[in-house]
């Protein structure tokens, strides 16, 4: 454990006590994940308010720049949701996204930030339950982590 992380833990206890809600950004592909999100909405399923959705045409559009910018700007977690592996509407866009997620995770780990703050989930457009499961899981994970501390000037 690095000293930075130790500082994080101390600070997070006061933050938690203040009850600050986490912020999560979700990048959802237009073909599957955003469609599943809309279906979830139409079914009036209740979800945590921590997650704000951003529509992209394909998860392959999401680059590490977007992921890290989200974290730098105030998100405690960011996730990407796209089509099932082998069923990306643009052939292998979701595989590119997976690569970038792994890259971002490795980068974060190397600077002492929990890699699970960045994740990817896959689902089909008809699979609203899966979308809900992913959203709740991400919310759970990030809520169990302290709010992300930033040292940016």
């Amino acid at each position: 454990m690095t000293s930075t992380a130790a500082e994080n833990t101390q600070a997070s206890e006061t933050e938690d006590a203040a009850g600050a809600e986490r912020k999560i950004i979700g990048f959802f592909c237009r073909e599957c994940a955003y469609a599943a999100a809309d279906a979830t909405g139409n079914a009036r399923v209740s979800l945590p308010t921590t997650i704000r959705s951003v529509l992209v045409p394909c998860t392959g559009r999401v680059s590490p720049l977007h992921l890290l910018s989200a974290l730098a700007d105030g998100a405690d977690g960011v996730y990407v949701a796209g089509c099932l592996v082998g069923q990306c509407h643009y052939r292998e866009g979701n595989l590119h996204a997976l690569d970038r997620i792994e890259f971002a995770q490795a980068l974060l780990q190397s600077v002492g930030v929990e890699p699970e703050r960045v994740q990817m989930f896959t689902m089909s457009a008809a699979d609203s339950p899966r979308f809900v499961e992913a959203a709740r899981e991400m919310h759970e994970t990030i809520s169990n982590l302290p709010p992300l501390q930033r040292k940016c000037k």
């Binding site: 999100a37 909405g41 009036r44 209740s46 308010t49 559009r61 292998e92 866009g93 590119h96």
Partner: protein, 1118 residues
């Protein structure tokens, strides 16, 4: 930026959860926002007017919509922005409904905070959203319709009426699809073919509809309006000259299950599915080369003559068997039959006894057949050296081509190794003699006792009237033996030993014979020795000494088995060391015992001596059968022919030696595997090559082009009953010692036909050419090839139809096991007046009319198990009702029960029809079927529960009919892959929107109609087909279309020409230009706006319209 924010109440969906006034306040403060509006339904006319007004009055250049998901009403607002001349990318969206109010109804406070963020994000994003340029794509005024069933035909008709050129492509050999198979249609009981036939004729005659059958779509590329399509048309093997007289089908000997008749009848390899087929031509089902034909060096179509034997057409069978091979009687006895090793029947039980069948045909027909002599039409004469199988085959084929040939043979008899090598108990003298006589009867001149190099020279022949020569001298001497004692008296060489024997010269052996070797020559020497041995004195013994194991012996299994029956003993893993002599005669043989070591160059494990392990066995005769070499004296006076490695050197393609006009083949030239059939094949090839040489033109193919091998599928094999080969009988072993009578008996006619009936007809058409001879129009073209065509079309309609659920998956129902369990589609074929039973309902097991019938509904439909589909197949309730009605009218005594789950009759007049059929006496029982069991008399015992009364029943029925559900056809899945279309459950094509766009697919310009989209009846199919046609007409009527806005583009200044974008693009829409400073170019028509290239671009040159980094980051980092 002058941004207007428009908040929608969505009729309370949003405003019941979020406080829109408070939201408006928070938005008002944001930089760039100059106007806030609010409406109950922002997407309606009032909302639109509000936007128009605000844009005009407040000078807005950006619009932010806080409403439902942009996936829902996005296009509406984009269109408004476009019409207000702001450009559609001037709109940013905040998802306040599905993304907020709907999912946070229980947390309104937190939802409010989130909503503020959502709107701020949209405003921030809007600042970076700039106008996107759009180009124009020209639209081809033509369409491709994939699938020639009623949907495809109805769509084609409509398109043609609108002046659009239609390419109607169908993979079966005729248009018609599923509807052509039906008897009558519900609820009107109209005759299906009567309704369909005029449509078929219409499509055939319409000059704007271009029909292609036997055709698949293999590639679709390009943008809507300019699709580039690749079509592959399989060969029909029948030309347009076909007049449909049907003289061919009685001639064809191959019968297979008919796909058109859904398995209730058979068809021939050449067939036409129904009389009004479009086109009306017949077609041949030829799946390539059968394994037996591919394996035969001479390319004999074994499948061909076997099929003819089944029908008792022995003369035609003989013609097929002897076409490529003048020695069918001989080969039927002594061939190594590679065809049998390849026979696919081995995967069911045992390979066919192809050689024995050939022998049967040749023995039966051959001797009587007088071959037609072909007159000599060429002036050139050809000399053949050697009257063995290679030489005589070459001579025969040259004679048939019209050449005068002379065969020079050194021995006083013809036949080569067939004569001098193979003993009579395998190949009787008269059998070989007859077939040689048939060759000479064609006009081939045979000069015996003429040795090349001694009595004449080849150079001399070429100078004196012969234009070409074929050297077929074989390998006439045994290989050298170099062990001590090899020259003692009693030490023989197999080739010479057998030659003396077969030429009638005196040959004797002792009572302790040892034959060294493991091939067929060794076996011939051994079994001949058994017959030559005297039985007086002590018990004679013949031993075979082989240096490897039984499994590795090259001799034919049947030879070894028969030899062992005759008393042969075999010593394995022994190598000869020395022959021990006494008084100049052989007295014993010393052998080195070996074990198997590493594999040698032939791939077999080589024997390795075991140190010190030597044995000695008594022997008075030793015969060496360890190899053959060429006798080279024929080369005297033949300059230019070279020998390498003991064989004549030839060019593989032409079989010509280094000397022009001199060819070689058979054992002497290593053209094959040192067997008779290889020599025969070499002879026939050489004849073709010589013909090409003499005519100075490649008129004939010397080597057959490789054809794809056809083998039956695993499914076809699984359906076969396991049996065994009809046994070939042999002479009793007690009668064989000392006798030279033929050991192996031929088949009787009955056995031959029974054995031939086991053939699987792997290639279906066997190229027996019976149809060619039968066709009066000369329309058969067996060498047709497939053709590939490229088209450009503006739009595509997918109408590839459905297939029936495979009812075998419902194991307790017995379909596929019990002959009297059928499906409704099969009943349709049986009831069809033009069907296989002319409309009579015949029970499959015995052809009688069934009295008591049970019809089971929902087989494979409404099924939540893993062996069925969840959906309802829509038509089965009425389909069964229809057939029940038809049967009852035709057979008033019939007792029909329909076991249904629910009776669904939603269409027009369906309920009324259902009621009518009940009044006709058809019994409907709401039931759950447990099991169908077969009685010994093939009737069926059905166990079912009446779910209304709860009573369990068990009743006997004559026939059980399953209403098997609908699934997407195999063709639908294939076109989905080719066209990049999504499939839903059971493989049906996914429409763009199930309610609002039911005939569009996800791909613009590609539409779907008919049962490819989902189960439906005929009127609904036609309606959908016309709807898809209308979509095409409206799409193409503008003449051009705007290229999409949200596409990638490259900044030439930034682009470093790395080409990564080209590699990752799933559409192939990005190309790297050539030249000194390459840069990427995006094809605006093909780009589908995924953005993968943008994220991959290392220089930041790539951007995506509407999804640039600035836009995305603005939305994220608010």
């Amino acid at each position: 930026m002058r941004c207007g924010v428009f908040l929608c109440e969505c009729g309370g969906n949003i405003s019941d959860v979020l406080d829109l006034d408070s939201l408006a306040d928070s938005a008002r403060g944001q930089d760039g926002v100059v106007s806030i509006s609010r409406n109950q339904f922002m997407c309606g006319t009032e909302g639109r007017r509000m936007i128009e007004q605000a844009v005009e009055e407040r000078g807005l250049d950006r619009i932010v919509i806080g409403a439902c998901s942009r996936r829902f009403q996005g296009p509406t607002f984009e269109r408004i922005a476009r019409e207000l001349r702001l450009g559609e990318n001037a709109v940013a969206f905040g998802n306040l409904r599905e993304g907020c109010s709907f999912i946070h109804r229980d947390q309104p406070d937190k939802a409010q905070l989130k909503a503020e963020k959502i709107v701020s994000a949209a405003v921030a994003r809007a600042r970076f959203q700039s106008d996107l340029p759009r180009g124009r794509t020209f639209l081809h005024r033509s369409a491709l319709v994939v699938g020639g069933g009623i949907a495809g035909i109805a769509a084609a008709e409509e398109l043609s009426g609108a002046g659009i050129d239609v390419h109607l492509v169908e993979r079966e050999q005729s248009l018609g699809g599923y509807m052509a198979r039906l008897s009558k249609t519900f609820p009107t009981e109209d005759c299906a073919m009567c309704s369909l036939a005029p449509q078929l004729t219409g499509a055939a005659l319409d000059p704007r509809i271009h029909v292609r059958t036997l055709t698949d779509v293999t590639e679709i590329s390009g943008p809507p309006g300019e699709f580039r399509v690749k079509l592959r048309q399989r060969p029909r093997f029948v030309s347009e000259a076909c007049v449909g007289c049907d003289d061919c089908t009685p001639a064809c000997p191959v019968s297979v299950s008919s796909e058109f008749d859904l398995g209730v009848a058979k068809r021939k390899a050449i067939s036409r599915p129904f009389a009004n087929a479009v086109p009306s031509l017949y077609a041949i089902d030829k799946r390539g080369s059968s394994p037996c034909k591919s394996a035969c060096p001479a390319g004999t179509s074994a499948q061909g003559y076997v099929a003819l034997v089944v029908e008792g057409r022995f003369d035609e069978a003989y013609r097929v068997a002897s076409g490529p091979n003048p020695f069918p009687s001989v080969c039927g006895r002594i061939c190594t039959h590679p065809c049998e090793s390849a026979c696919a029947r081995a995967e069911v039980d045992q390979p066919l006894a192809i050689a024995a069948l050939k022998r049967f045909v040749a023995d039966r027909v051959g001797p009587e057949t007088v071959l037609e002599k072909v007159p000599v039409i060429h002036s050139e004469k050809v000399a053949i050296i050697g009257a063995g199988p290679a030489g005589l085959s070459c001579a025969r084929d040259l004679a048939k081509l019209g050449y005068q040939t002379t065969v020079f043979e050194a021995l006083p008899v013809a036949g080569g190794m067939l004569k001098t090598g193979i003993p009579d108990y395998r190949l009787p003298k008269d059998v070989l003699g007859r077939e040689i006589a048939q060759v000479t009867a064609l006009g081939v001149e045979l000069k015996l006792g003429q040795r090349a190099g001694k009595d004449f020279t080849i150079d001399g022949l070429l100078e004196n009237g012969y234009s070409a020569a074929f050297l077929a001298v074989g390998l006439q001497k045994s290989s050298e033996v170099e062990i001590p004692g090899a020259e003692l008296e009693g030490s023989e060489r197999a080739v010479e030993f057998l030659r003396r024997l077969n030429l009638g010269k005196p040959v004797s052996v002792g009572d302790r014979v040892v034959v060294i070797g493991g091939g067929d020559v060794a076996l011939d020497a051994a079994r001949s020795s058994i017959r030559l041995q005297k039985t007086s004195g002590r018990e004679p013994k013949v031993t075979l000494a082989y240096r490897r194991t039984r499994e590795q012996m090259p001799a034919l299994d049947e030879e070894v088995e028969q030899a062992i029956e005759e008393g042969l003993e075999i010593e394995f893993l022994v190598a000869p060391l020395e022959i021990v002599g006494k008084k100049g005669r052989v007295s014993a043989l010393r052998l080195q015992r070996c074990k198997l070591g590493e594999p040698d160059s032939s791939g077999r494990r080589r024997p390795v001596p075991i140190e010190g392990d030597v044995t000695e066995i008594e022997a008075d005769t030793v015969v060496f059968a360890i190899g053959q070499d060429m006798v080279c004296d024929f080369l005297e006076g033949c300059d230019g022919v070279s020998v390498e490695g003991g064989q004549i050197r030839i060019g593989r393609d032409t079989l010509m030696t280094g000397k022009a006009g001199v060819f070689a083949g058979g054992d002497a030239a290593a053209t094959g595997g040192w067997t008779a059939i290889e020599a025969i094949a070499a002879g026939t090839r050489a004849a073709r090559s010589i013909h090409n040489y003499l005519r100075d033109e490649t008129l004939l193919q010397v080597w057959e082009p490789e054809a794809a091998q056809a083998r039956p599928s695993a499914e076809e094999l699984a359906g076969r009953e396991v049996g065994r080969r009809i046994p070939i009988t042999v002479l009793d072993r007690m009668e064989r010692r000392g006798s030279w009578d033929e050991v192996v008996n031929g088949y009787s006619e009955e056995d031959a036909i029974a054995e031939a009936s086991r053939c699987l007809a792997c290639a279906v058409c066997s190229e027996c050419e019976a149809c060619v001879r039968a066709c009066p129009a000369g329309a058969i073209e067996l060498d047709q090839q497939e053709t590939v065509e490229e088209l450009a079309v503006g739009a595509i309609i997918v109408a590839t139809g459905h297939k029936e659920f495979d009812a075998r998956r419902k194991i307790p129902l017995g379909f596929g096991r019990f002959s009297n369990v059928v499906t409704q589609s099969q009943i349709a074929r049986l009831l069809a007046p033009s069907g296989p039973t002319a409309g009579e309902l015949e029970r499959p097991s015995d052809g009688t009319v069934p009295k008591k019938i049970f019809m089971l509904q929902c087989v494979g439909s409404r099924d939540c198990t893993s062996s069925g589909n969840e959906h309802c197949s829509a038509i089965c309730c009425l389909f069964s009702t229809l057939h029940a009605s038809l049967i009852k009218q035709h057979y008033p005594d019939a007792d029909i029960t329909i076991g249904y789950t629910d009776l669904r009759a939603p269409g027009k007049a369906h309920e009324e029809y259902y009621r009518l059929v009940q009044e006709r006496g058809v019994r409907y029982v709401r039931s759950r079927v447990g099991e169908v069991m077969e009685e010994p008399d093939k009737s069926l015992r059905v166990r079912f529960e009446d779910t209304v009364t709860g009573r369990k029943n068990e009743e006997l029925f004559d026939l059980v009919v399953l209403a098997a559900g609908l699934e997407a056809s195999a063709g639908t899945t294939e076109i989905a892959h080719v066209a990049g279309l999504q499939q839903g459950s059971a493989g049906f094509i996914k429409e763009y929107h199930p309610k609002l766009r039911p005939v569009d697919t996800q791909r613009p310009g590609i539409f779907v109609a008919g049962t490819a989209q989902g189960p439906k009846n005929i009127p609904d199919t036609i309606a959908q087909a016309k709807a898809a046609a209308a979509r095409v007409v409206s799409m193409l009527s503008a003449g051009f279309v705007l290229t999409p806005a949200q596409i990638a583009s490259s900044d030439l200044e930034q682009c470093i020409g790395c080409g990564i974008c080209e590699t990752v693009c799933p559409q192939g829409a990005v190309e790297l230009s050539g030249g000194d400073s390459p840069h990427s170019i995006v094809d605006a028509n093909s780009c589908r706006g995924c953005g993968i290239c943008v994220a991959e671009c290392p220089s930041g040159a790539m951007t995506l319209g509407g999804f640039s980094d600035e836009e995305i980051l603005a939305e994220v980092m608010v």
